[in-house]
Symmetry: C2
Subunit: 340 residues, 2 copies
């Protein structure tokens, strides 16, 4: 049973049947229900590519999701996806999501494009010198980068938060409070945003003739467990930091457990600033000692990337539009004057 | 450029080209790279359906993701998806994910099947008398239900946790500790697992001639915010409960904030048991007062559902296999004898 046969069976045009199957508002409800019923009864399953040609819309965004037995569910990814999903639902797009072991992303992208099942690609978890940008530039399909990639020359479309400025501002606040030994619990090494955040800390320290010590820095996955371990290690050093920056409120959650276990008072004995992706589950104002944060909503980024990527697919956005969001520095009680 | 033309250009068989594009190990690395390079240079994008016929595998699971501006990112969904993704990556499957406003799931399922882009369907967020099961029974495509649906007769394949037994056991523990006024912070009303959990509480209470009071029960989304509000309301009643069951550690996080704000000591003035989906971010043993829980890993359920659904797609599982997991009751410090 193909589209033509189904249309003949129903005494309708192929266009009408195709639109009914795809929920176009031009088709009235009674006709739509008749078509859907017939499609169900005949077991009709149209060829995806043919359907796309008939209706002029595929409505599909391709993305790669990190997946492996040792890979934690990433609440940051879930939060972003909820924003992207909100916009996709509004504009009747769906996702083709490839779960792949980290390191196999390029093959997954090639497959997504080669399969013909997506109209545009969302790129994330960007590394320095990320080969995926060069790959996407060589493929003929719209794409949008969440983040950037240090070392990649040339124009490419992206949306990023100004991570360097965010962490420079946060470090300047700590310097103004008199802190001199400052630690950094950062995200994974080699990832673009962690490189930029570190650069922001270093820039602020350098302006005061200070440096970020290697033994005061940790690069880990952004989980509660690594936050706990990282902070514990920093506190066990001979000269522990008096203030620590965390790349996520998730890291901060574990880090504060280590602070409490060490019998230190947050905001008095030790100061802490976390980057807040506005995860509904971890509101910085709800921590026992409300957290000072650099704030930028990951969900809002998801919505915005959905808008722009769909616009690119529809030809409404062209050219390498580059959008850089500024994080807000919000001072609460987890920061205080350096202990004497 | 179609598959035949690409094969001719390369002097290879269509089967070899198709397998190379799909990463089959039978094709050596040099050939594979030559094919991928040519596919890129020519902008070749095969018809998805044709490719499926050529390679004998589509490798696609369809699922619907709740999405709306007022819909929170669901950490439970992310955790499940990470398990499903782990198994899908292992067996070279991908997802077609439809973001849809709650209430539009049936149309999304019809579209997924009609599009020809998926080989099987995963159903979740089951309601009582859920019309989606009847719909899936009428469509000719493998599917698997995560959870069950009270009120639906007949056989259908599912994996569920024995939610009634879990909450009956938990309530019995509280009764043994002398608690008589027991509250319940449950998930959303009308959802199958919340109905069964409530039934478990009621069964245990009824065996002692007690009842679950309507004013001691809350049905809400399983967020930290609702846990806080729900517990606050219970504690402000004239006769507040001495013990509360929470449908998630996420609800418990907020509920405990309300307990602390009220100046009550957890495990002494008030007892609490939470259902633990084994979310890495919220380990019950890491709470200041470690939580007593009913435990069943949502990620393990994701892996298992991935195995079974892919087996069903491949014809390796037939018949309405029904699998019911038992949750473990783990006693920690958040439960204690009822205050006199």
């Amino acid at each position: 049973m193909n589209l033509r046969q189904l249309a003949e069976l129903l005494g309708l045009s192929q266009t009408t049947v195709s639109r009914a199957l795809n929920g176009y508002p031009e088709v009235n409800r009674a006709t739509r229900e008749r078509v859907l019923k017939a499609a169900e009864e005949t077991g009709y399953r149209p060829n995806a590519a043919a359907q796309r040609l008939a209706t002029g819309r595929a409505g599909s965004i391709g993305l790669v999701m990190p997946a492996a037995p040792d890979y934690y569910a990433d609440i940051h990814f879930a939060e972003f996806l909820s924003g992207l999903g909100e916009e996709a639902a509004r504009r009747d797009f769906h996702f083709v999501l490839m779960p792949k072991k980290p390191g196999e992303e390029e093959d997954a992208l090639r497959w997504l494009v080669a399969s013909g099942s997506v109209d545009g690609i969302y790129l994330a978890y960007m590394q320095a010198n990320d080969p995926r940008i060069t790959l996407m530039q060589s493929l003929r399909i719209p794409y949008l980068v969440h983040g950037r990639s240090i070392g990649i020359e040339g124009d490419y479309p992206y949306l990023d938060v100004d991570n360097e400025a965010a962490f420079r501002d946060a470090t300047n606040l700590l310097l103004e409070l008199g802190h001199r030994r400052i630690g950094l619990l950062n995200g994974p090494g080699g990832v673009d945003f962690t490189i930029r955040r570190k650069a922001g800390v270093e820039a602020a320290l350098a302006a005061k003739g200070l440096a970020l010590e290697a033994d005061q820095t940790r690069h880990t996955a952004m989980t509660d467990e690594f936050g706990f371990r990282g902070m514990k290690e920093l506190l066990e050093q001979p000269s522990p930091p008096t203030a620590v920056l965390c790349a996520s409120t998730v890291l901060a959650l574990g880090a504060i457990r280590a602070v409490n276990q060490a019998g230190l008072r947050l905001g008095r004995d030790i100061s802490l600033i976390a980057h807040d992706d506005v995860l509904p589950l971890l509101k910085p104002e709800d921590f026992s000692v409300p957290l000072t944060t650099t704030r930028s909503s990951l969900r809002a980024a998801g919505v915005r990337i959905g808008q722009r990527l769909i616009d690119r697919i529809k030809g409404l956005e062209t050219g390498p539009e580059q959008e850089l969001w500024k994080a807000e520095l919000i001072v609460r009680n987890s920061t205080g004057a350096a202990p004497r």
